[in-house]
Symmetry: C2
Subunit: 333 residues, 2 copies
DNA sequence: CTGTTAGCGCATTCAG
DNA sequence: CTGAATGCGCTAACAG
């Protein structure tokens, strides 16, 4: 790698001041058509690339936003990420995509590095941090949007899906098919959407006059292995279960596998409903009935909201709540 | 967000020079136990966070490496990413994870922003750029590791999987089961691993004395939809096909769906073999026979190699080639 | 063990 | 329309 060309090199080459070059780069201020042309040519010839960090230091804007998710490998988040990235790029921003591996400690670490990187804004998805720690960390960023996580006393923007409604519709669907003993594989204990889905689950049961039985609810990691294990425990202790509502599709697939273990036919012996509608949902056998979440939209809305904040256009102060949609497939017809 | 605390604030607070504070932050040079202690306390009290961009400007090291992949949503790459990230973090580096959406133009754009961010090193996976453009762009980075992509005349490090051997073993397996008319859904035309797998496919056929028929080879995007469509075309034009070797597992799932369309039973009427062994492979029905690729390892080796380069330890100049392993499941027993 | 002097590469004032 | 001076926050290279 040769020595880097700087703005000074370009200025010298053209015989103008650095400032003029800077203006052209940022197409700011008026520069004569002709000078601009010559500068552009010189930039091209010399292969000059402005230093983002020098610009950041001088202007206090890095044109970079941070996106934090628990697991990029999960389609849910990779779709949100795509929505965020596309919209961010279209607006001249780069995205720093960070993984926390569902680990709160890692999440703290990630937020710290992001702070040191002086990002202009942050989109934080499904934070697993407790309220205190979270607000403490968030206060260090110039602009923040929280996705799928609320925070009492927080005045920033929220983008969420209506978990309560989604869970309600899922359980309502199962009740409608005659199920009365419905278990819930509730995902991570710290997950807020988990809690909301639980509340939707309870509410749907309540409406039908069915008593809530906490024994039918088990937490699990949102992956296939953990879910399968927990589903087995549940099926073992409650052989009378005829349906399982699951925190998400990965968990539902785990439930499917557990059913196979127990020699239970899905949906005849056990109906299974997931959440999210990731591509896997229709690829497994039987295909999954699930609540479809507008993931890409979630990302787009989040970044739009963030860009608003960063531009001080406090246009739309209300939080954004997107509705999931029940997709009926084979696992719970 | 309050005004940022700077290193000067900390220095003033403690009554030492900025340099001493700097030394403590970087635990570099000797600082008396006691002063260090006081500085640490002040940092904590004031809530000081060093500015990464200022450090980067001054030290010419950003402690950030870039990781570019065609699609984070693909488990293959998200696993590689995890390997890279974990190892990078463990060594004090942050990772700038970037998506190209399989789009060469987007890839150029991403590399340009990464250059402007002055990353210390780059891990580039499965680049879709042509050789000329690629070497031109790579020369702008201080250290580079190419994953699953070679580049003639390039002197940097390469980390690859043995695609030829993998494809050979897959096709050999099919031939061993008596198949003689084997199609190949070859993935993106620009994909280098696609080309290598094609060569493995041809080589395995050749060894068995079966003539290569280019009509049995079709390119496709590495996703389920495109693969299903292309597989349909292939099955339609060549009803005699008894087996399909697929560029990767996503493509194989597409082939599975196409088989269903054509009312063909897998594996009885049509055997299907994938590549990668993503989690999906054992979740679909029938479960996929596939070549397992050590993805996490790929990431770890890549970043290790990159760190070596960045530290001038040109320890291991040879490229790294990891071997895939055939996993036999239901789709091609 | 600690401080001083520079300057990283650029954008922000202000002046022309 | 263009330029000069100044400093963003930090570290390198020397001193002491």
């Amino acid at each position: 790698m040769a020595k880097r060309i700087t703005i000074a090199d370009v200025a010298r080459e053209v015989g103008v001041s650095m400032m003029t070059v800077s203006r052209v780069i940022n197409n700011k201020g008026e520069v004569s058509e002709e000078t601009a042309q010559r500068i552009l040519e010189a930039i091209d010839e010399l292969g000059y690339r402005p230093s983002g960090i020098a610009r950041g230091l001088a202007s206090k804007r890095t044109l970079t936003i941070g996106l934090v998710v628990p697991d990029v490998g999960n389609t849910f988040f990779s779709d949100v990420a795509r929505g965020v990235e596309q919209t961010a790029y279209a607006n001249g921003y780069n995205v720093f995509l960070c993984n926390t591996d569902e680990d709160p400690q890692r999440e703290s670490a990630v937020l710290n590095s992001l702070e040191e990187k002086r990002i202009d804004g942050l989109v934080l998805c499904s934070s697993r941090l407790d309220d205190t720690r979270l607000s403490e960390l968030l206060s260090r960023f110039p602009a923040v949007v929280l996705v799928n996580r609320s925070l009492p006393g927080y005045d920033g923007k929220l983008v969420q899906i209506d978990d309560v409604a989604g869970a309600k519709s899922a359980v309502h669907h199962l009740l409608g098919s005659g199920h009365e003993s419905i278990g819930f594989l509730a995902g991570p204990e710290v997950s807020e959407s988990g809690k909301k889905r639980l509340s939707g689950y309870r509410s749907a049961l309540g409406k039908k006059g069915i008593a809530f039985n906490p024994e039918l609810v088990l937490n699990c990691f949102p992956n296939v292995e953990s879910a399968q294990e927990r589903a087995s425990i549940l099926l073992n202790s409650h052989p009378d279960l005829t349906a399982l509502f699951c925190y998400n599709d990965l968990v539902a697939v785990g439930a499917l596998k557990a059913a196979t273990e127990f020699n239970k036919n899905v949906p005849n012996d056990l109906a299974v409903v997931g959440f999210d509608d990731i591509p896997l949902a229709e690829l497994v056998t039987p295909s999954l009935t699930t609540c479809r979440v507008p993931r890409h939209d979630l990302g787009v809305r989040a970044i739009e909201s963030l860009l608003d904040q960063m531009n001080d256009c406090d246009s739309d102060c209300s939080d954004i709540i997107l509705q999931p949609e029940l997709i009926v497939r084979r696992s719970a017809p």
